[in-house]
Symmetry: D2
Subunit: 409 residues, 4 copies
Amino acid sequence: MAVSPIPSRAELAQRFAQVRAETLARTATLTPEDQGVQAMPDASPAKWHLAHTTWFFEAVVLAAHAPGYTPFDARFFRLFNSYYESLGPRHPRPQRGLLTRPGLEQVHAYRRHVDAALRRFIEGADADTWSAAAPLVQLGLHHEQQHQELIVTDILAAFWCNPLLPVYQPVPGPRPAAGPTALRWIERPEAVAEIGHAGSGFAFDNETPRHRVLLAAHRIADRLVTCGEYLQFIEDGGYRRPALWLSDGWAAAQDAGWTAPRYWIAPDDSRAPAAHWQVFGQHGVQPLDPAAPVVHLSLYEAAAYAHWAGARLPTEFEWELAFGVDGVRQMTGHAWQWTRSSYDPYPGFRPLAGAVGEYNGKFMVGQLVLRGGSIATPAGHARATYRNFFQPAARWQFSGLRLARDGTC
Amino acid sequence: MAVSPIPSRAELAQRFAQVRAETLARTATLTPEDQGVQAMPDASPAKWHLAHTTWFFEAVVLAAHAPGYTPFDARFFRLFNSYYESLGPRHPRPQRGLLTRPGLEQVHAYRRHVDAALRRFIEGADADTWSAAAPLVQLGLHHEQQHQELIVTDILAAFWCNPLLPVYQPVPGPRPAAGPTALRWIERPEAVAEIGHAGSGFAFDNETPRHRVLLAAHRIADRLVTCGEYLQFIEDGGYRRPALWLSDGWAAAQDAGWTAPRYWIAPDDSRAPAAHWQVFGQHGVQPLDPAAPVVHLSLYEAAAYAHWAGARLPTEFEWELAFGVDGVRQMTGHAWQWTRSSYDPYPGFRPLAGAVGEYNGKFMVGQLVLRGGSIATPAGHARATYRNFFQPAARWQFSGLRLARDGTC
Amino acid sequence: MAVSPIPSRAELAQRFAQVRAETLARTATLTPEDQGVQAMPDASPAKWHLAHTTWFFEAVVLAAHAPGYTPFDARFFRLFNSYYESLGPRHPRPQRGLLTRPGLEQVHAYRRHVDAALRRFIEGADADTWSAAAPLVQLGLHHEQQHQELIVTDILAAFWCNPLLPVYQPVPGPRPAAGPTALRWIERPEAVAEIGHAGSGFAFDNETPRHRVLLAAHRIADRLVTCGEYLQFIEDGGYRRPALWLSDGWAAAQDAGWTAPRYWIAPDDSRAPAAHWQVFGQHGVQPLDPAAPVVHLSLYEAAAYAHWAGARLPTEFEWELAFGVDGVRQMTGHAWQWTRSSYDPYPGFRPLAGAVGEYNGKFMVGQLVLRGGSIATPAGHARATYRNFFQPAARWQFSGLRLARDGTC
Amino acid sequence: MAVSPIPSRAELAQRFAQVRAETLARTATLTPEDQGVQAMPDASPAKWHLAHTTWFFEAVVLAAHAPGYTPFDARFFRLFNSYYESLGPRHPRPQRGLLTRPGLEQVHAYRRHVDAALRRFIEGADADTWSAAAPLVQLGLHHEQQHQELIVTDILAAFWCNPLLPVYQPVPGPRPAAGPTALRWIERPEAVAEIGHAGSGFAFDNETPRHRVLLAAHRIADRLVTCGEYLQFIEDGGYRRPALWLSDGWAAAQDAGWTAPRYWIAPDDSRAPAAHWQVFGQHGVQPLDPAAPVVHLSLYEAAAYAHWAGARLPTEFEWELAFGVDGVRQMTGHAWQWTRSSYDPYPGFRPLAGAVGEYNGKFMVGQLVLRGGSIATPAGHARATYRNFFQPAARWQFSGLRLARDGTC
């Protein structure tokens, strides 16, 4: 982040307005009650996302850099801290759904208060202050975009717990009926790849430093695995054959009783009886689309599928190297793509200084990297070097997979 | 219940209107968000209480007895069933707080729909139908009154989880500063007591049959234990002396870290710092009132206090025998009073026929009887023979204690 | 206990020798490894029972009353305390099975050390000391007899976890093939019963004080429920019909997947395949004997069976009143019999003074009374007023049931 | 493994005898009771290790390749399977400590039975059979050596739960009092390293295929971190400063209450009071040796220490590259050394065919690589390419750390 060129004040002010508006837009169809609910400890209420992204600007930018800034409510500093140990104690994560106060209206007022203060700050900060704070404003915008995606995935997790299976967004119109094309393998010879952020434009600290990685020859699929293909895996007993699974994955699947991706509804399931498979999602319950990329998979399911298909998951380096290569499709905007890479620091990695140093680095154990970006990722947010990460059992994100294979033909 | 004389149609219609209005009145200060929250599995959202009490009339009265009744939404039949196995599957209790839909407005509409149908039913049912259904209407009203108290206790449990400690009801005015009178012991000689409901007026099945119990001579306190007295127990190390406690109680206190009644705030506690003890309740955080009855105790704490005070808890029979005796005060309207009686069936107990047979009898193990009635109990709901019951570790009710002693002076 | 006449020194010395020998006899078929294992937190290793019963004499009698007594190993004082808070900290109960040291040989030496010291004490204590200590010696013997039964039930719990299903005691010989007689109901008119220990002979404090209880007319079965009868309950869907069950019982049965009494092996179960039902017990796996009393039931199952049979469980007072009545059989020596009585204190109950006051009183909540005595109860240990108690979900004891009904014909 | 040259029959027979004898030697000071205990689900009883390593030869070699082999007890096939799904169901891991039968003597007999059969097989197998089975025999020996180390770590875990803190091995004699030398940094320029097993001698499948990795310039410490150095970290508040910790590590430390390495005993701890720090280990409780390598650390503690020391953990590739480099000491035989590398498959990794394919590959998620070898690792077992792996919270192994730093001076 530190090395990124900072946009001008005018440009940042405009982006600030856009990003903040987009966050609200994603809650437009939700009632105040919807926005308060927390389906599970990993998820958060939409209202909490609205407040926490605001808290970020208040705690990291305004409180630290804007002289005379008056907090909207001093108690929010603790209430809406997510995980920053250096910024003091915070409300327990599993109890975010119990915060009926402040109400949604008050959180909206909080947003307006901070919006106004931030706008004034962008305009009026002196040059030294601005040079210190501008990277944090920029970081705050990318941070907020991450929460925009979580607003969608977290509300789906909540609606899934409701037998009424509410609809988040009405169906936008008829979908094209085109089936998927046949999968093609893109050959990649042995190479030394430049991996990580190159220094132009914004990047998170975990994408740095750019460094060279030696990659063996391999093949990578030109598109994502589809729902139709994944259904074949299910029908071939994929969820009943331990030999296909990682050990932890098999245990997780047995414990939780997984028999299909999260949000898939089997024929004649009592939740939404039908003669065929259905899938719950942003538009409520829809018939399974065989051509659509499969999502809402854990790493374990993705790896088992790949095993079954005689392939493997790509490493995050293979994925990054494939970005922009002719003929490789669906790299971003469709699904986050599990890689076979643990979320480890890059050689020479240094977290940012200060509280924002807790942003990424302290999570570098026990998680795996996903690359790409999904239908819920805000436009312009993802990039070739972007490293998303989740624990291997996580299924409530828009997480799918792309296949890879060792060697070339 | 079966033997109670049933009020006239006009009288029941009037009572129905009153009870239904009182339920709504108890939610008047709550936002829609407040009404959706569930603090713990034992508690329920206010909105759920609104819906479930309505469901009772729909499922037990209208669906069974009103020809041509059209349900408001057939899916509610499952959504708002609490624990009636004979009425089919139901939404899991710990997930009641996840039901953001139906929204509060829709639940209000559900109430209006059932209210109207029930009024028509009371007016128009033929005599045979009425004679079968009227006891169920009456039961439904007493059922709803029980949930009125739970609306209060459950919202306090939720607000207590919020660092902002919201206020449920503004303070109604200055309280009288009068201190408690000295405790007096009322002497009770050996006697055969008639215990249980006598057959006039409504009673739950668990209050029957009326039967004779032989009681040894004993003394019973003329008033409840006060906050000031309980504070002495705390200051005397009551929470640190296992010899005062039942074994399960000591374990529960250690596991949960109890050092005072639920909702007591120690001096300088970070939640609401002050130089003195405070108590959270319906009116938010208030200074501890030494003269007020102590509430929000578990059975374990009540029994430990009694042990410390050189006394014991009364049995439910001793309590019932003391009801109406000259000089015994605070029997109802102040606090539910833990007794030393396990919640066992009376000799000859028979549950009601049909689904309502699940109302009381199936809970007759592992719980203890509380007698009396609290500040949150609706007027006219409690009576001398009323048996409330909770598990011994429960603290979120308005549960206090009255002392007793063996023998007479 | 305090009021019991104390046997003479000679008599106590003889009983001491007998009881101590019987304890060892019950471990004779067990290897040192068998004696170290703890199947579940509620159970204890046989070696621990050997040591703890010895500890009781050391801690309660010798350390307190025998001048100059030298402990075998001062560390055992903490290691083998079970639950006496007043005697200081103790080894955590769930970790008793981890104590491979002291080894069995050392525990045997510990027993011999305390045996010798106790014998010397019985012989040599001066009159005042003896008068204070003799009741504790007597209590220690009854305490050890209770653990004799637990040695049997706890080792069965351990062997049941072993797929090899080891045999605790070889089959003693062919059993009589006689079937059960038809159940007869003994009629009992309304009466005031004298309940509790009368003051002659030893009793635990929880059997006192003797007091009068008014009992309504009822009928009580002349024998226990048999395995054959219980099998009919199973075959009639008893484990699939929630209407028969207490609410907590149904939840426990679903959570644990109960479909039969503990230790019953269904036909073709992979543990011990056969064409018919089998039962695991002291003699290993045996064919189910339809005439034998059913045991290893929880209170929940016993109550559900009684419900199914159109009857109920007796209260502990009804049971005690029936003791010794002509025609009532199998009162003791066959199975502990669940009653419908919660384990509450008798009116006027006072625990013993000192550490032994923790023996019974502090457990008087959340448990139910069993009466009778089982095939594993040492001869002479049980009596008409004896109150055994366990939590309602406990199944590893020899716990069965006898039916009762309200009223008379 | 498949590509390793197989030793001759005579050589394998000799190694077989040696390895089998060493396993027994490691249990020589343990009683039968000691050998049955399981301190926690992750650990296993010594007796189970004796049986399971035998089972491996029986199930993988004899049952599959030795015609006419008669199993010692067919039930052991299920009883002593560890995690091989393809070899059928198995006894639950957390219940290994409940298997008092077969007794230790019987397990010894089982070992002798399989030893004899295996010796006959080595001598008599025809050439084709031998060529298929010899790699499995060799694998079995390395497998047994892994369990030899676990015998030590698992019995320490058990003894640690015993307040008597038993001694596994008497102290072998006075230790040299020499302090550690000053830490030196070994400089390593950027390089392409050949990583993984080269094909000569035995290796596990997870060490293959050998491949090239591009390493940036870095420095690596010439020795392990010592207890004295780690004590400074503790005294500097290392366990109280979240900024030093990975997020999961901080949570684990708080949940478990870590304040020092496992087995460290603070001054005046009630377990073994003293005026100075002590450490429990193979020789019981000993004074902390400041010069000894610190062990029994989780990855989280190792990473926090490195952070505090202004360094980091090496990657497994950096470690492997340093092996054999002049001046780098304590690479093996002192402690397993946590690396910053997740346990991921090498490019082109293929598990072995058949059941032994479950040996390593299915665990490649959620664990981290340790390199080196400890004081408990059998002589000749470890090597430069050896990849040990454990979950990051594991502390019961002999796990310490070596520091590294980015760049060169």
